[in-house]
């Protein structure tokens, strides 16, 4: 890997995210570990979305659906494991994170396949809005379906387990999320650099040309959308375990909006854009929330200024224009 300016910035970001919780742990300030874990998880969710949105140009305004489905997968499995009520065929949930992750990825991917198969028939603004509509459907379903807490959500009383690790220790849980984030980013890089990724980008830039060389843009996009949904779903499962709680607000359109915000804030389509965006967003939210009751106003103002004047997001400012464009 060449030591370009972007790679250097990426390296600093990755090490910085690791350094904060280690320092916080040494100084006895566990809350900053929680904050860093939140950054890692949101970055993973946005990395998933970035595959569809940044590389494939598919502006999904409904990724909260996958985030929430991943979260509910964790919540429901843990709740059944806790109560002992069978979920189906005598299987009564689990508290093992790796099983939960597989289920979250599978469920989000499956729902992504259904939503994507229908939504990808449309394009442009229609695609933005139909993905929003599907997310709203899932949201209202979760709010009104009584079995798993409805609007009240579902508590995970004890954080789920991972072999050989005390997950309740904040630093340990951070490290789990951090490793998964790095793996997610690596997957993103591999896909983007592959022939598949090239076809996906080509389909974004010139659909007709791709079709004439015998590639079906629809199938390429659908595949990317499903992988994207699955990654975001995995992040949802981690998020549920971080908060030890899952509720329909993970599925709300505000959440979808926030995921998009993270990507643009960091730099659309950039490998480390979601991480940069998530770090910046969580830092703003935390700092402003402590300063003023009117923090949402200033958050809005900052976002607006970024869109208007800092095109390319944080990475655009720090590392210059993207190679891919």
């Amino acid at each position: 890997m060449l030591l370009t300016r972007e790679n250097l910035v990426n390296l600093i970001l990755a090490l910085g995210l690791l350094a904060v919780p280690l320092a916080a742990n040494a100084l006895g300030q566990p809350f900053y570990i929680t904050l860093a874990t939140r950054v890692a998880i949101l970055a993973l969710a946005a990395t998933g979305l970035n595959l569809a949105l940044g590389v494939g140009g598919l502006v999904s305004f409904g990724h909260a659906a996958f985030f929430g489905i991943g979260g509910y997968a964790a919540g429901i499995l843990a709740a059944h494991n806790f109560s002992g009520d069978p979920l189906f065929f005598g299987f009564s949930g689990t508290n093992q994170m790796w099983i939960i992750w597989i289920v979250a990825v599978a469920m989000a991917g499956l729902v992504g396949l259904v939503i994507g198969a229908i939504s990808l028939r449309t394009s442009g603004v229609y695609f933005i809005m139909i993905t929003l509509a599907f997310a709203q459907m899932v949201y209202y379903f979760a709010v009104s379906w009584p079995a798993y807490g409805g609007e009240d959500g579902l508590s995970i009383l004890v954080r789920n387990q991972f072999p050989g690790v005390m997950t309740m220790v904040p630093l340990n849980y951070f490290l789990i999320c951090y490793v998964i984030l790095l793996l997610g980013i690596a997957l993103f890089a591999v896909i983007r650099a592959s022939r598949f990724g090239a076809a996906l980008q080509a389909a974004r830039q010139n659909e007709v040309r791709v079709a004439t060389v015998g590639i079906q843009p629809y199938r390429i996009r659908l595949t990317a959308f499903v992988i994207s949904a699955a990654l975001t779903g995995l992040a949802g499962a981690l998020f549920a375990d971080l908060n030890r709680f899952v509720s329909p607000s993970m599925l709300s359109w505000h959440m979808s909006g926030e995921l998009i915000v993270l990507i643009i804030l960091g730099g659309t389509g950039r490998l480390f854009g979601p991480l940069a965006g998530a770090a910046l967003y969580v830092a703003f939210e935390y700092a402003l929330g402590g300063l003023t009751e009117r923090w949402q106003f200033f958050l809005g103002l900052i976002l607006l200024l970024v869109v208007l004047f800092a095109r390319g997001g944080l990475l655009g400012v720090l590392a210059g224009k993207a190679r891919h464009g």
């Binding site: 209202y140 709010v143 009104s144 409805g150 009240d152 009383l157 908060n243 929330g289 949402q296």
Partner: protein
Amino acid sequence: MKKMLAAATLALTLSASGLAFAAPLKIGMITTLSGGGAGLGIDTRDGFMLAIKNAGNKDITVVTEDDAQKPELAVQIADKMIQSDKVDILTGIVWSNLLMAVAPSATAQGKFYVSTNAAPAQLAGAACNKLYFNAAYQNDNLHEAMGQYANKGYKKMFILAPNYPAGKDSLTGFKRYYKGDLAAEVYTQVGQTDYAAEIAQMRASGADGIFVFLPGGMGIAFMKQFAQSGVKIPVMGPGFSFSQDVLPAIGDAALGAKASGQWAPDFDNAASKKFVADFQKEYNRLPSIYALQAYDAAQLITAAASKASVKDAAAFGAELKKADIKSPRGNFKFNTNQHPIQDIYLTEVVKNNGVLTNKTVEKIFSDHGDAYAKDCKL
């Protein structure tokens, strides 16, 4: 940080009331100060801070932060307050769904939680906790009272609530005491703003009374639309449907509506008169039921803090449970599940010197607890 300092200096400038102080106590208030539900959070904060100010205990500090009515944000703030600000007690959450996200994990970390409003059934029953107290009620209480009231003179009720857990608890609570027939049981969408379809069903249902539980903006919309519909069936609801935070926005359309409450601003006792006068002097408006509940929560905490150190959880919890306060609502004590046992009254919306307010009509329940206490093993 600024707010914390402000609270500390506020406490310092006040004259100490001369009680023996046990130990420093730090309270974390998480409540809704932005967005559509901010009115309730602001009343909660103001009522709470009024009692803190009155207590004049300079060892008590309060940190406040906005949850924007988002469960994830509430969890994050709770983590921060516990891990970074090192608070001893959390309080202030208005909504059941946010409380469910915060309270079980706070008590699991050994912190007290004193609820100023939300009171989901789980936390009153099987999932009760010796560190969790509710200073308001149990969610079902006010609905139960209206069910009891409806038995007098109503034979066929049309009942309606939003389709979420608190809404289902509401209608369950109503039906627990109501013995007559139901014309219909309708669940509306959360956040719904147009009720034409439901009002048309009410008109056609042949009901002789209507019970609605629609908090906040939903209730405002419903009452205004109902008043225009020409339907003449009497409307009743739990107290928060016609509380002081929404009455000015509903306007005269609320006149005559019957509701249940554990308190109304016209209560004729010294503690209530002092509370209303102090609140009006401090904030220049009438207190709502949320302000009252938060005021009592703060009273409970300061009373306990003057007797025991919060570091000794068992002793502090025992002091809290004694509920040695003068509540504006009159009778107040804690049940075995640490939820209130209190009287519940029927109120009616009236106009008093041009201001809409609730007038007490009669007592519905004396020393009323809740249906879930028997499931609580404390």
